[in-house]
Symmetry: none
Subunit: 418 residues, 2 copies
């Protein structure tokens, strides 16, 4: 079987996952781990504890080569994954002696006099299945090899729900078996390119068709606020062709191919050049500094952040002129320039970025509607550059969008000298 042709599904069980009490991170985590092996998840399903597991499992085993089930291996009455598996496959269950011994040992090591009898059902296994040891909890996992039951050729992994138990078991027990099933010798090719300053429609009108024409290439977009990720999957040649095509059209907007965020790239590029940054924020209210300082090592880059929300702060801290404020208002090209230059002077940094705008919901006018923003970049020995845009969104999206604009101005100056 070729890796790409192995059909894998994930079935997450647990009522708490559907009521919003617990965020389901299994699919996300396993998707990443499987992709590293060149494998892909074809479908992920979440069902509540209880009978719904049977139905979902019956459907999945008909569609897939391998099914990974999480949760429902505990000792209580709503833990029914083991039983559902045996029933769906038409196999008897048997108590695994080794599993009982291991569980007794688990309780003894934690100072219990004896194993609670309720835990005993955790040692039940469909006949012919493998018990997967669990070093981090009581519930052993189970592996049902393909064609063990008459009902399907699908391989089934039953893994415990808690991430601290699931993840080690996945690595140690499930991954090697999946590799063997898929006949994988090394990992496939998958890359994600991150862009800032272009949207999905720039691709749709530009090179989407050309990408489609590349043989053996699979690609997809994921649009975020002020950011676009392009995912490429395929052979080496296909990916190289796609990269070349994209590089020609969008070289300046390209940010990273290793998952690095815009702020990570800004910190890395500035740190490697020994450059220091200061921020002067009005409408973003500290978001830009916050994003930069989310990056480990950012203390080598960011020296000062000024959140000058009030006009007195702009005047007192950054030296914006009262007369400029009176003449053109706080949301203006002139004030933005004075903020950037003031932050540069006050901090002694190499670069200073300034933003002033109207985040809403209040504060807009006909002349300066909500969404109006000025972003300025000051640098020692260079003329200050100010751009303006109007992007009326809700308050938080506006802040995020403006912080993208600002960080991207810094990136383009540092990386491309723009």
């Amino acid at each position: 079987m070729e890796a790409a042709s192995v059909r894998i599904e994930i079935l997450n069980t647990g009522t708490e996952l559907l009521l919003g009490s617990t965020l389901n991170t299994h699919g996300h985590w396993m998707g990443q781990e499987l992709l590293k092996m060149g494998l892909r998840v074809q479908r992920q399903t979440t069902v509540p504890d209880g009978e719904a597991i049977h139905e979902a499992m019956r459907e999945s085993v008909m569609r897939s080569d391998a099914l990974i089930v999480t949760g429902g291996l505990g000792p209580t009455s709503d833990d029914l994954t083991r039983e559902a598996t045996a029933e769906v496959l038409g196999i008897e269950m048997i108590e695994d002696e080794q599993a009982v011994r291991t569980m007794r040992e688990f309780f003894r090591a934690r100072g219990y006099a004896a194993m609670p009898e309720g835990n005993r059902k955790q040692a039940l296994v469909p006949v012919g299945a493998d018990v997967l040891p669990n070093a981090n909890g009581t519930a052993p996992g189970i592996y049902v090899p393909p064609r063990l039951g008459q009902a399907s050729a699908c391989a089934i992994f039953l893994l415990p729900g808690p991430p601290s138990e699931l993840r080690p078991m996945f690595h140690e027990e499930a991954a090697p078996r999946l590799r063997a099933l898929a006949g994988i010798e090394d990992a496939g090719e998958a890359v994600e390119l991150k862009f800032v300053g272009i949207g999905e429609s720039s691709f749709a009108d530009g090179i989407d068709e050309d990408l489609q024409a590349i043989e053996g290439l699979e690609f997809g977009y994921c649009a975020r606020l002020g950011e676009l990720d392009l995912r490429l999957i395929g052979g080496n040649d296909a990916i190289t062709a796609a990269r070349d095509l994209v590089a020609k059209s969008f070289s300046k907007q390209y940010v990273s191919d290793d998952g690095s965020s815009l702020e990570e790239v800004v910190v890395r590029e500035m740190a490697s050049r020994g450059l220091k940054l200061a921020t002067a924020e009005s409408c973003t209210g500290g978001l830009i500094a916050n994003r930069v300082t989310n990056v480990p090592g950012s203390s080598a880059v960011l020296t000062h952040g000024f959140v000058t929300y009030a006009n007195e702060a702009k005047v007192g801290v950054l030296g914006v002129k009262e007369e400029t404020l009176a003449k053109v208002g706080a949301v203006s090209e002139e004030v933005c320039r004075e903020m950037a230059e003031g932050a540069l002077a006050a901090s002694g940094s190499d670069l200073a970025i300034a933003v002033t705008g109207i985040a809403g919901p209040g504060g807009g006018s006909d002349e300066k509607p909500i969404g109006t923003v000025f972003v300025g970049l000051a640098q020692k020995g260079k003329e200050t550059f100010v751009l303006t845009k109007c992007d009326p969104r809700n308050r938080l999206s506006f802040k995020q969008q403006v912080s993208q604009l600002a960080l991207d101005l810094v990136r383009r100056r540092v990386v491309h000298g723009e």
Copy 2:
């Protein structure tokens, strides 16, 4: 139809959700929102972009009364949700003129000369379906009422993938229709109390048993970073009894019962008293100011935010003494006090909050391990108060946790005079 008997499924589309590039939070968020309405999700499925949507949708509409589909409404070739819906239901598609006008307006407002032609397909709608306006993006949503297609009686909602677009549309367009479908007259009795400064174990050790004894009360906890939400569901009497019980035990830690965040409460309480705030942040790097300025109307409260990441910034901007820094280091009670008092003086505000700590992963020592933090509160005419804590977490969790500590100090001072 009774609320509890309405079968709801969620179908998330997007290859990025299965490859682990994007964490799927839709199910979690919608599960919570639906539960507030007394509705429950019976199954959640994730499929990649493309043909798999057809198959999954065909299955879901046969099983459910309402299907909520997310993603795949963009302008590119892999956005196929609209088409899949029309095909599964056997309905023609038609261009919605109002939707085209709205999209043109969206691009015009953002300074584009014209709408890219590729976006035009976003205005295609199955005949007879409702267009759901999208104030935060180009992709309109779609609502297909029950029994519109011959293939099923299921109501279908197509919502955009980005959370900033999906969430408002869910509230404004999907929730009222779901309520109508389920015959729900009002939102039912459900209340969520938010606490800061206590954990789940404070409840478990304290009043959990007493809550269990209240007849007709269903309750649950949701622990977040530095925050605990207690969800109460039941009749008026049960909820009142639970509230009284909780108020007796945790009155100082109680933050809100209307979903208001800690920063919203801080802004509201300070604004109503005409109080002004300044922040001086080292290890949180702007997060506190950012959280405060996420709140509409915060410009009435926050005047100055200082992100003094470098020692020179602490000295130059806040007047921290060089000798204090040399003697006890930047992460110390003394420097924290000088930062808070410096921010108070530089800003002229009524209150100033200061934080200095070690976020990691670098910078820890035996004496001051990673996670060490000092939080100081200065107020005109009062003695400055400094607390210290050590909570070694990863960088982002640490920042969040410290910002909670700081904002809660402000809240307790303003609301309780502590």
